[in-house]
């Protein structure tokens, strides 16, 4: 057993981190996602990792770095649908009849993947009818309220259960990266910002908030690594429990740490100018994808005696 990053995985992490720092600084991220972003990311190889023989553990390490830079886009769908559809893929769970449905990044997309109970189905993006929100919560995640979602064609070679599991792992990995970035950005601010003639980070009220945030991020990272390793090698654990637990803790870490970052930044944290709100808003929207926190907690509980 070596449950830690290998030298190759550290190199992968450092490589993706360098790409993000070079090509996705805050100014670029704030321009949002488009086809050009998709192609630029495609060139780095993040969408083709699995097709190129890398493991889900490797892919989760890469997604952690994308989350750290809060890169916009339907990135998880980019991995799941790699090589299977034309254009930018996006997707959603099939809504219950009459229930509202939201799909992200529809304008940039070529294909919409729909997760049904029995299969993954594909619908051409221009066949999806809906109204784009003029003021989406996350300014970097444009959203369309769907009014008509065709049934679509079954996508051959796509195992819907596997897609749900892998989608949860990659989303959770992205959230862990966001959670760590929030600790780093808030810590840097707490060292720089002075009040009462001292850095505010010297106050235990601030220090403890940041220490708790680091603990959450690190515990969640370990859970995501365990889930990814189990997805690669299901014999080493209870796969659904590992994934549900990881998604729960990662989502919680992303959300709570983003809120901590807003709080540590004080008044500046409430401004558009500071990045903290981008992390907070992405945390909220990613928590609705591939397993909401409460549903994940219920699924873990269902593995225990007395469960339904």
């Amino acid at each position: 057993m070596h449950f830690d990053l290998t030298d190759d995985q550290e190199a992968l992490r450092d490589g993706i981190r360098a790409v993000c720092q070079g090509r996705f600084p805050s100014e670029r991220v704030r321009e949002g996602f488009d086809r050009e972003t998709f192609d630029a990311l495609g060139e780095t190889g993040v969408f083709s990792l699995i097709a190129d023989g890398f493991s889900w553990a490797d892919a989760s390490i890469a997604f952690e770095e994308l989350g750290r830079a809060v890169v916009p886009g339907p990135l998880v769908w980019g991995v799941l649908a790699h090589g299977l559809v034309d254009g930018v893929p996006t997707g959603l769970d099939r809504p219950a009849p009459g229930a509202p449905a939201m799909v992200e990044h529809l304008a940039a997309a070529g294909a919409v993947l729909v997760l049904d109970a029995d299969a993954v189905r594909v619908v051409p993006a221009d066949a999806v009818a809906g109204v784009a929100l003029d003021w989406p919560l996350d300014p970097l995640t444009p959203v369309t309220r769907v009014t008509d979602l065709p049934t679509g064609e079954v996508l051959a070679g796509a195992d819907v259960t596997r897609w749900r599991r892998a989608g949860a792992v990659l989303t959770a990995a992205f959230q862990v990266g966001m959670a760590h970035a929030c600790v780093e950005q808030a810590t840097a601010y707490a060292l720089d910002r002075r009040q009462f003639d001292r850095p505010v980070g010297s106050f235990q009220a601030i220090k403890h908030l940041l220490a708790d945030a680091l603990v959450r991020a690190e515990v969640a990272r370990t859970a995501v690594h365990a889930a990814a390793v189990t997805l690669d090698d299901p014999e080493v654990g209870d796969l659904d429990r590992a994934i549900s637990g990881a998604k729960l803790l990662a989502g919680e870490a992303a959300l709570k740490n983003a809120k901590a970052s807003v709080q540590v930044h004080g008044g500046m944290g409430f401004t558009w100018e500071v990045d903290a709100h981008l992390y907070l808003k992405r945390a909220w929207v990613t928590n609705t994808a591939f397993g909401a926190p409460d549903a994940c907690a219920d699924r873990v509980a269902a593995t225990l005696p007395g469960g339904a």
Binding site: H2, D294, R299, V300
Partner: protein, 386 residues
């Protein structure tokens, strides 16, 4: 990155399981918590059995009778013992996990010969005399004095939270040998024979109504000079050396027990909000179990658990608190009875966020040593009126 056990780890696990199966069946019944002579007999008997089977001192070097096992085997040992409900380390705690490793690292040949083999065999019980009424989180502020007088040190002061003080034959003693030096530089580490004249031990009644700790009063106790471990005034460093023996397995037994309790509680959890909370707590335990494997893997590779080791106590004690509160809610009117294991555990685990560095001190350590945040300014700040 993987979670596969190696063939040698699996072989170790199989051998240990077979031994536990055979041995646990022959154990006498567990003694009552307040029957200290019986507890000493029971716990030291278990230590002897471990020693005879080659399982004593899993992390100790071979030349001192230990097994020098890789961290993965140490993890398996603790996991399997807890799963099998084998006896805890109990009264052997201070000797095997703290005093023994300290003597191995810092003791003279004579000190090692006198104590290390006995500790490993369960023939010698130790207690700890570190904290003082005015030196808790600020341990280095301790004021118990040890003054050199010929072949002896004369020790006077008061110690508190001394685990196993009422039964320990020897104590780990920290005392101030140079009151003029900066506080970390004037402390020495001593072996304290607990039968010396001038030592009075008074049990402290805990929140559980039992006496796991003692207060120890030291009144001009004449401690032989050859009981000094390491150099005079170097005791702070000597104390911290022991911590490096810990290879990422500190909370394994705790965590295995906590997970078992969560599983035992589960059939009684019906309310949907409570079940959701149970799922949440178990997700945290699962993550901390993974973190344990992360720490052990890192220790095996680099000798140090790194960040994960610093976070473990903080994260585990918080998760355990959530399980404790959930169990009290689920028990409803059952909470009246302390004989109910969940009630007793709820009380016991209140100590987790306090003992061995409060959660607040842990957060300071994480904030300052990991995140690099500055220490809070000294009080009263220079140039201000008190």
């Amino acid at each position: 990155m993987d979670l596969r056990a190696s063939p040698s780890d699996e072989a170790f696990r199989a051998g240990l399981r077979a031994w536990l199966d055979a041995t646990l069946a022959t154990l006498p019944p567990e003694p009552a918590r307040d029957d200290w002579p019986a507890r000493v007999a029971y716990d030291t008997d278990w230590q002897k059995r471990l020693f005879d089977a080659g399982y004593a001192g899993m992390s100790w070097p071979r030349e001192y009778g230990g097994r020098d096992a890789p961290p993965s085997e140490q993890l398996i040992f603790l996991e399997e013992c807890s799963n099998a409900k084998a006896p805890y380390v109990g009264v052997n705690f201070v000797g095997t996990l703290h005093a023994g490793p300290t003597l191995i690292a810092e003791g003279t040949d004579a000190q090692k010969a006198a104590h290390v083999p006995k500790i490993l065999r369960g023939d010698e019980v130790w207690c700890q005399c570190f904290s003082e009424p005015d030196a808790g989180s600020d341990l280095a502020g301790l004021t118990t004095r040890a003054e050199r007088d010929g072949d002896h040190y004369v020790v006077t002061g008061r110690k508190i939270w001394c685990s196993f003080g009422q039964i320990g034959e020897f104590g780990e003693l920290l005392a101030r040998t140079d009151p003029t030096a900066p506080k970390h530089k004037g402390i020495s580490w001593f072996i304290l024979p607990m039968d010396l004249p001038g030592i009075e031990v008074r049990p402290i009644e805990t929140i559980l109504g039992s006496s796991e700790f003692c207060e120890v009063f030291l009144d001009e106790v004449r401690v032989p000079a050859d009981c000094l471990v390491g150099a005079e005034n170097d005791g702070w460093r000597v104390t911290n050396v022991t911590l490096s023996f810990e290879r990422g397995t500190a909370f394994v037994s705790e965590m295995v027990d906590a997970m078992r309790m969560a599983v035992e509680l589960a059939p009684h959890v019906h309310d949907p909000a409570d079940r959701r909370e149970l799922g949440h707590v178990v997700a945290e335990f699962d993550a901390l179990w993974a973190l344990t494997k992360r720490n052990v893997s890192r220790a095996a590779r680099t000798g140090d658990t790194g960040l994960g080791g610093m976070l473990m106590k903080l994260a585990y004690s918080e998760a355990r608190d959530r399980l404790g509160e959930l169990s009290m809610r689920v028990l409803d009117r059952g909470v009246f009875d302390v004989h109910e294991p969940f009630v007793e555990e709820r009380l016991r685990t209140l100590s987790l966020t306090i003992a061995a560095g409060t959660s607040q001190i842990q957060r300071n350590i994480v904030g300052e040593r990991v995140l690099g945040l500055p220490r809070e300014r000294a009080w009263p700040a220079p140039g201000t009126e008190g």
